[in-house]
Symmetry: C2
Subunit: 226 residues, 2 copies
Amino acid sequence: MTSARTPHETAREIPEATVARLPVYLRALSTLADSGTTTCSSEALAQAAGVNSAKLRKDLSYLGSYGTRGVGYDVDYLRYQIAREIGVTQDWPVVIVGIGNLGHALANFSGFRSRGFRVVALLDADPRRQAEVVAGVDVRPFDHLEAIVAEHGVAIGVIATPAAAAQDVADRMVEAGITSILNFAPTVLSVGEGVDVRKVDLSIELQILAYHEQRKNGALGEEDAS
Amino acid sequence: MTSARTPHETAREIPEATVARLPVYLRALSTLADSGTTTCSSEALAQAAGVNSAKLRKDLSYLGSYGTRGVGYDVDYLRYQIAREIGVTQDWPVVIVGIGNLGHALANFSGFRSRGFRVVALLDADPRRQAEVVAGVDVRPFDHLEAIVAEHGVAIGVIATPAAAAQDVADRMVEAGITSILNFAPTVLSVGEGVDVRKVDLSIELQILAYHEQRKNGALGEEDAS
DNA sequence: CTCGATTTGTTCCCCCGTTCACAAACTCCT
DNA sequence: AGGAGTTTGTGAACGGGGGAACAAATCGAG
């Protein structure tokens, strides 16, 4: 969770940690369904999702009581219930801003369509990129943002620009009416109340791995550095 | 944190949540340094990093006492201390497996070099991709993995393959001696004791945003579905 | 040298999340 | 029908992290 919480909490409250795991369960269920499994226990699903089975059951209990004691969960039924809870039974239009190397990769990412997301526009400020067609969608000028958001009712924006441009892009997105941002630029974004931001940061992930790696190697560099 | 913990804990223990924020502080400090700032308060740095100042001070206190009361922190000094703690004062060789769209983007990512990481090899199982040269490094057969890891002492591997291949790649990596994996494939990896895995999953991030987005819109779909 | 202003380092408390453990509920076999 | 075996859903204990608040330390002015 990055942004502030909405003041008017609706109905039942699902913990943030649980929300973050629901997509994992959803994927595991899809895999099970593809392999012909129609029913599974919390133990089996937990293993497929890489979590503790007690945690899985507690997570699912926030959604309701969708299992059968002594039996387990119906794969298709549970899958639908989770998808509905997350909100991916409907289609979410998405705009991607910044069509460099990463933007290309994101636009071509097949997991978009199959999981309830539809890329309605690719935007870039660089006129040289606006000639391109990526993944069947043509790259348009960044200035079209407001019109596109209004036309398609876009709520989710993806920022794949260099760090220097990210905050400006975010500001424009928010102004245009976007309320959820996925940020790939290595910058801290500041946005107003009610806007959610999630960040994906490659170099941070690598640095976290480096820290643990360093410790595995018996902690060199123990000088006190006074 | 994804994998198990090493049994023999060394010296002082830094909480995982703090470790995840140190790279953010490091970047904020670099930005401050670039703008000519030589000293900053915890309040200023916290704002630049997008966190609470009390949390920042507590995080830094795990590293030692590097500030001066009544004054603040010396930007360069603190930056070096954090970099040393994370382990990015040395250079980490990295291999990337799977040179599709995403692999291209990762290989070209400039944040690698500048933050203590060096891409020593790009690997792909597809012979057609092995003709390419990406970001000055030529794509080599996946089978070269073991030799490259041994030669350069690679500890960190990046998986950018399709989901179906990811587990096999991970197994080979671990067997070759890699002990930290950054996984971009949408799969749960299972690895042995002592191997760290971090995952970056686009569709999960989008689904989390979708969930919150759905709730903002006044929670439709309140049928009980008996 | 002393006093006020500033800022760090740390203590204390609370809340969220994880895990264990068990009662409730269901199936199947006899 | 009844009992044994399974598996879910949840209550309770526990640990970690976040934030407020304060004492300790440093600087600067007079």
